[in-house]
Amino acid sequence: MHAAIAVDSIVKRYGRRVALAGVTFAVRAGEIVGLLGPNGAGKSTMLSILATVLTADAGTATIGGHALPVEARAARRVLGLVPQQTAVYPTLTATENLRFFARMHGLAGGAAAAAVGRALEVIGLEGRAGEPVSTFSSGMRRRLNLACGILHEPRVLLLDEPTVGVDPQSRERIFATVVTLARAGAAVLYSTHDMEEAERLADRIVLLDRGRVAAAGTAAELVAAARLTPRLHLRTRRALRGDWLQSVHGARTVDGTGDGAVVEITDTAAVTNVLRAAADSGGGVLELALHRPSLADVFFALTGHGLRDDDTPAAAAS
């Protein structure tokens, strides 16, 4: 069975700068894949290539089995794009926007009207359908933006940070819509900076960094692959001695300055021993928190904490 989205060794350059340097991944029907990466990693370039807006310099990509860019027109018929910008006409009403984009998706007459009505219901804008978009809140615009991309019930849905700046209610509605589409069989590629969002929605994660796939897999796989261990965060009444953890196996101090300590746990059974050792050293534990490794930890572990503010063409486009 072909993947709904198949990307193989895609290379894209902007002049001398390499935006994508041999990216390979796939998204199956009904699967939500989170596309993560810092600024300039190549996420927007990747989405633009898959959206048939850009052409790759090397490698192959298919959408719904249609090879790009040769079969771009056929690919567009199964493709839904939700760009990062709220790409709607502000002076038109929600209905007018949806009706126009339905026509541009190839829907006509009754099919278009039905699609518009369905989309309005899904995003919860029936009550404001006749008002100009310029009067909408950011969340409403985001929802309408999503609706414009799913009018034709695409088999492949590309979303580029669709929840930027939205209220929690709108965010939940967008999540629900995306999940519903995926459950209905759509392949969803979801580009985001938000690790929690990706971890919550995505069946799998593709982490891009500097134009390459830094990691791919489920969140758990990524965490496991990163070999990250849980950490105990302690706050004590007094500073602990320097050798207070010496006798405890499966634990080591990562940070022990001041009235607290961060302890890396390789064996969860050691937690009790850590607490005892802290009490024995006269620290007096006031607070205790166990932090399991998350996608964000993986992200930072793989991409580092350095800022990625270089202004690349891909960044400019995003």
Partner: protein, 545 residues
């Protein structure tokens, strides 16, 4: 406070310096407008415009034509082009090769010499107002020179005639003085003769009076002696008649009652009246009656002979010099198209500013519209949709094209209703150049959208280009105001062809055929802009994605 003010000032200056579009608008735009307006309107302030061709049809082949031509050729701003006849001259103006053509009608020189008014004919193209005005001024100047030259010739002739007259007058005065002397001598001689005659007559009158007096005294004496007895008899007779009457009265008184019976006495014979008159007449009177004084002859007086008058030799006056004032030279103007010679300024301004605002509308509608699509992200979304992007572009351009057409037609209607502009003999023909310029403007909007990197760059770039196109193309003032090189350069602008077509239809009152070529050129401009705009827009859109 002061620190904040300083910081804010520095910030705003920094913002301005880094706003290239704004800087261009502040600096480049005024320079462009100043340059365009300065070069275009230089002719109004006396700068030589040059390049005028004046077809001259000399049907007179006389002195007037030669003088006019040489006078006009002295002006470097004009090129006199002799043509065969007035039809050829008119054709050149109608074709637009010249703004005016001069015709010297046959017989003009002869009429001028005869002092009759002469009317030159100036065919004009009302659209080329300034050129016509300049040619008119030059022709009037030449005409005034001709009139002044004629007046000078006449003045010379009159001066010669005055000289001859003065010489004749001097000769006449000499002759008159001689005549006066001769007449004076004659008068003296006549006075002497008269004095002598009077003296003689006086003497003769004395002698004659004395002789008459003497003879009258003798005659009176004789008559008195001769009439004395008659007077005595008559006196005696009268006395006796009175005595008889007394006696008769006495006799009757005595007769008493018988007096009535007395017969009347016999009447004495009456004294004849002539005898009584003779007896009563004075002797002197009788003497004058017998010898009337006029019958006394005076002696003959011999008057002196009349002196002979000298023969007067008056000089002959010279013949009057023929010095007719030359006839006036008038210049009659006629529009080659039959349109009014004075144009309605709105015939120029309504299409001109309509085209300007059409271009501005396209700048805002097409250029900013496309950039908005790009900035909103709708363009990217559309590119990911099955409908071809070209359909979106064509639809946008078509919508703007239709809006532009309606806009232009509405402005023409307003111009007609409010300002009485002419819509030409075939108003529907305005649709052709209008469609052409709207198409070109629409496509030009695409070019600007393809050139401008951002929305902020559209207004400075677009407005500079539009101002230049409108001004140089003759939308704001007649293109004939512009110097020749600028008019040549303007051929590369669609506005020039649009205005040419509108001027043909609305001012020259030409028919639809006159706008076929400009419309075709406008459509060609539109096609070229469309191709260029698509290429630029595609490159820019793809380059940014």
């Amino acid at each position: 406070m002061l620190a904040a003010l300083r910081a804010a000032l520095a910030k705003d200056l920094r913002l301005l310096i880094r706003d290239r579009a704004g800087l261009a608008f502040l600096s480049l735009a005024p320079v462009v407008v100043i340059s365009v307006a300065g070069f275009s309107l230089a002719g109004l302030f006396g700068a030589p415009i040059g390049g005028y061709v004046l077809p001259l049809a000399d049907e007179d082949h006389g002195r007037l034509g030669r003088v006019l031509r040489s006078g006009l050729e002295e002006d470097a701003a004009i090129e006199v082009r002799p043509v065969a006849d007035r039809d050829a001259a008119r054709a050149l103006v109608r074709r637009g090769a010249a703004g005016a053509a001069l015709v010297i009608p046959a017989g003009a020189s002869a009429a001028l010499r005869a002092g009759q008014p002469v009317s030159l004919l100036l065919y004009t193209d009302p659209v080329k107002y300034l050129e016509v005005a300049n040619v008119r001024a030059l022709v009037q100047e030449a005409r005034q020179r001709i009139e002044a030259s004629g007046q000078t010739r006449v003045r010379h002739r009159l001066a010669a005639a005055r000289h001859d007259a003065r010489a004749a007058r001097r000769r006449f005065e000499r002759s008159a003085r001689a005549l006066r002397r001769a007449v004076d001598g004659l008068a003296a001689r006549l006075a002497a003769a008269r004095t002598d005659t009077e003296r003689r007559l006086t003497a003769l009158r004395g002698e004659s009076s004395a002789a008459v007096a003497r003879r009258a005294a003798v005659a009176r004496g004789r008559l008195a002696a001769e009439l004395a007895p008659l007077r005595q008899f008559l006196d005696e007779l009268a006395t006796r008649q009175r005595a008889f009457a007394d006696w008769l009265t006495e006799a009757r008184a005595r007769a008493g009652r018988f007096a009535d019976r007395l017969p009347p006495p016999p009447a004495p014979p009456p004294v004849p009246s002539a005898v009584a008159a003779l007896a009563g007449t004075d002797a002197t009177v009788l003497a004058e009656r017998i010898m009337p004084p006029e019958e006394l002859e005076l002696p003959h007086v011999a008057l002196p002979a009349v002196p002979t008058l000298p023969a007067l030799d008056f000089p002959a006056f010279p013949e009057l010099t023929v010095a007719l004032l030359p006839g006036s030279v008038d210049v009659a103007e006629a529009s080659v198209t039959g349109a009014p010679r004075r144009l309605n300024a709105f015939d120029q301004n309504v299409p001109g500013f309509s085209v300007t605002f059409l271009l501005l509308g396209m700048l805002l509608g097409v250029s900013l519209g496309l950039l908005d699509e790009r900035d909103w992200g709708t363009l990217q979304r559309l590119r990911a949709m099955p409908a071809p992007l070209a359909a979106t572009l064509v639809a946008k351009l078509l919508a703007r094209f239709l809006v532009g057409l309606v806009q232009m037609m509405a402005l023409f209607a307003v111009g007609r209703l409010l300002f009485g502009v002419s819509l030409g003999p075939e108003p529907w023909a305005l649709v052709l150049p209008t469609a052409g310029i709207v198409f070109a403007a629409t496509a030009f909007g695409l070019v600007v959208a393809g050139m401008a990197r951002s929305r902020d760059a559209v207004l400075p770039v677009g407005s500079i280009v539009i101002v230049t196109m409108a001004a140089v193309g003759g939308c704001w003032w007649p293109i004939e105001l512009e110097p020749g090189w600028m008019r040549d350069a303007a051929l590369a602008l669609p506005t020039t062809w649009a205005m040419r077509a509108y001027n043909d239809l609305m001012i020259r009152r030409a028919h639809v055929a006159s706008v076929f070529a400009p419309t075709a050129i406008l459509l060609a401009f539109g096609a070229a802009y469309l191709l260029l705009g698509l290429a630029l827009f595609r490159r820019q859109t793809l380059g940014r994605s």
